[in-house]
């Protein structure tokens, strides 16, 4: 596990957690994040997506996007063969051009972590594993923590956990907080990404609140979605979460990462997300340590656009490897 430079090591104590003697979740009954102006957020996200990015800037942006990609396969039919193939793709996305890539990480189910670990040994590509009864999170805490510990023992560098959306919606914020904090402890040296599953939360206000809880409870990254629910990542919801990250940074100086996942399919969308990040958080966040795309279909579209820039011809999807 390499150390990340954003000061999120496990030894660091979040200001929110320092000296908490009462049950940690209790304070959130009083804690009220600022309300979110839904119309303004959607307008701003739409306005930022209108920027046109061309030529050399586009190529640089797309290469950056590839370096931020968590190539993901989370299906019941995943096999070691498919995961190995995906790992090869992460190491060298385009066989004809070694200068492109590698991706940031591979995201798989715990059972497939050792397979990915073996292929990726010695490379910069990390192995992320979903845990905590993904994707629903509707299991006892002990099961979720065991799931997490086992994934770490199997070699996961990063853990993508899901919050208990049911608890979030009934207002049991203490439970949500405590589960995240306990999972963070169970992670040990592994990085923790907290999946809010925004598509199930219902409003931007709840997304904002969930973001703040996840950050305060010790999440290193907050992530929009599991990819199993529609809508998944959208620009406005990402903007709301980025603003939570920004406000936390202003308050504490601690940098939290962001991962939109699911629904980012085209190179153009990826560039728009990068614009939103830059405009909300600045250049410091334009690094794989602090921003990731959770995607599977996105990579091929980005590669097609890069090849189009290189050759001048629009590409055929058949010419790029699936999986």
């Amino acid at each position: 596990m390499t150390s990340h430079e954003n000061g999120n090591g496990t030894g660091t104590t979040s200001l929110f957690r320092a000296g908490a003697s009462a049950p940690r979740g209790g304070r959130f009954a009083l804690f009220e994040p600022p309300p979110v102006d839904a119309v303004a957020v959607e307008e701003r996200a739409a306005a930022l997506a209108k920027r046109s990015i061309k030529k050399a800037t586009k190529v640089a942006g797309l290469k950056l996007a590839i370096s931020m990609m968590d190539l993901t396969t989370l299906e019941g039919k995943d096999t070691p063969g498919k995961v190995r193939q995906l790992c090869q793709k992460a190491l060298r996305p385009l066989d004809s051009d070694g200068s492109i890539g590698p991706c940031a990480a591979i995201c798989v189910y715990p059972n497939l972590v050792p397979v990915a670990k073996e292929v990726l040994r010695g490379s910069s590509v990390k192995v992320a594993s979903v845990a905590t009864a993904f994707p629903s999170g509707q299991s006892p805490l002990a099961v979720k923590l065991d799931d997490t510990r086992r994934a770490v023992d199997l070699g996961a560098d990063e853990i993508d956990m899901v919050i208990d959306r049911g608890a979030m919606l009934v207002g049991d914020y203490g439970k949500v907080f405590d589960e995240i904090a306990a999972t963070k402890e169970a992670c040990g040296p592994a990085h923790l990404k907290v999946i809010l599953e925004t598509g199930e939360l219902g409003s931007y206000d709840i997304v904002r609140k969930a973001s703040e809880i996840a950050i305060a409870a010790g999440g290193d990254f907050i992530k929009t979605s599991t990819g199993k629910i529609q809508p998944a990542a959208t620009p406005p919801v990402t903007l709301v979460m980025l603003e939570a990250i920004r406000d936390h940074y202003y308050a504490t100086g601690r940098r939290i990462g962001m991962k939109p996942a699911g629904g980012v399919r085209t190179a153009k969308q990826a560039l728009h997300y990068l614009v939103i990040v830059k405009e909300t958080l600045g250049d410091a966040w334009l690094t794989p340590d602090l921003f990731r795309f959770g995607a599977s279909a996105l990579l091929n579209d980005v590669l097609m656009q890069l090849e189009k820039e290189r050759t001048g011809n629009y590409q055929a999807s058949e010419d790029f490897s699936k999986d």
Binding site: G312, N313, Y314, Q315, A316, S317, D319
Partner: protein, 329 residues
């Protein structure tokens, strides 16, 4: 409040019969007022089952004769001038429509093509009017529309027959059955001839889609309006969105992009300009497209059933798959 509204409605209804049963004869009552502003159509390209403007925002102008005083179209109309990006978007849409279209049964594709003929028949006056606007004599326009409708019926009928005519069981020296079967190719680009604007488009596009391909067609720049009116027939004929896409604009600008696009697997270009034909041929070589370039036929050639339609037209954009199967015990 509700009560009040109801009363108002009742009063309005009560007045109406009084007016028509008055002294004025019915015909006079229903004569259009002179001051009425007629509604002119905003011509748009047909992509993915929807009518769209060019993403570039560009237009080109088409001059035309007005059919009559009642013709809502002015003498000069704006038609979208498609761009490279419009071509790309259309190709993407056609690619996405391919799976659904080629998986339909041949019989169902034939039904849809026949439905297209039905809709063209019901819109016959509109198609004729559009051709007259582009400068054709009424008689010639009518003949072109008739031939176009008949062509749709021709391909509708051929849809579930070409397979048996083109497939074969081949004799081979060995204990194998050997079959050759035709399969659709993918997204085909069509550069329709300038004239005849309707029959040329129908005759080039329909055989392509009959074979299970989807297509992106560049309509005649001399008369793009008729291509758009025909697209309205396609839009209301059960044809799934994206199977037939019609881009308006200049063939000189658009056809090289269509030829260059690697997702386009074949191109059928009817172009007068020899240099442009050569460009299309060389640009199409990049992904070894099936490139068919032609000097356009004259009107008689298109109207003639022996030269303007046929099994060969469908066959041009089919791939043949040959299967060897061991003979059983």
């Amino acid at each position: 409040m509700v009560e009040k509204k109801r009363t108002e409605t009742a009063t309005a209804n009560a007045e109406a019969p009084a007016r028509s049963s008055g002294d004025a004869p019915l015909a006079k009552t229903w004569t259009t007022q002179k001051a009425r502003v007629s509604v002119a159509k905003a011509y748009k390209m047909f992509v993915g089952g929807a009518f769209v403007r060019s993403e570039s925002g560009r237009y080109f102008q088409v001059q035309g004769a007005r059919g009559s005083d009642a013709d809502p179209d002015p003498e000069t109309v704006n038609v979208p001038r498609g761009s490279r990006k419009d071509v790309r978007d259309a190709v993407l849409v056609a690619k996405n429509a391919l799976g659904g279209w080629e998986k339909r049964t041949a019989f169902n594709r034939g039904q849809i093509l026949y439905r297209l003929a039905e809709v063209m028949e019901s819109r016959r006056p509109e198609l004729v009017q559009s051709l007259v606007r582009s400068g054709l004599a009424e008689v010639a326009a009518a003949a072109e529309v008739d031939a176009s409708i008949d062509r749709a019926v021709f391909y509708a009928g051929f849809s579930d027959k070409y397979f048996s005519l083109l497939a074969s069981s081949n004799p081979v020296a060995g204990p194998h059955f050997n079959f050759s079967v035709p399969e659709s190719m993918g997204v085909i680009g069509v550069v329709a001839p300038e004239r005849p604007s309707l029959l040329g488009l129908v005759s080039t596009v329909l055989p392509v889609v009959t074979g299970g391909n989807t297509c992106v067609a560049i309509a005649s720049a001399a008369d793009p309006r008729t291509a758009i009116v025909w697209s309205e027939c396609v839009a209301t004929s059960d044809m799934p969105g994206g199977v037939i896409n019609v881009i308006t604009g200049h063939a000189k600008e658009l056809s090289p992009h269509l030829a260059k696009h690697r997702e386009v697997i074949g191109i059928d270009a009817w172009i007068v300009d020899a240099d442009l034909r050569r460009t299309v041929e060389s640009e199409g070589a990049d992904n070894v497209k099936r490139v068919k370039t032609h000097v356009p036929m004259d009107a008689e050639g298109w109207l003639d059933e022996r030269t303007g339609q046929g099994l060969g037209w469908i066959e041009r954009f089919l791939e043949t798959k040959t299967v060897w199967h061991p003979v059983g015990v």
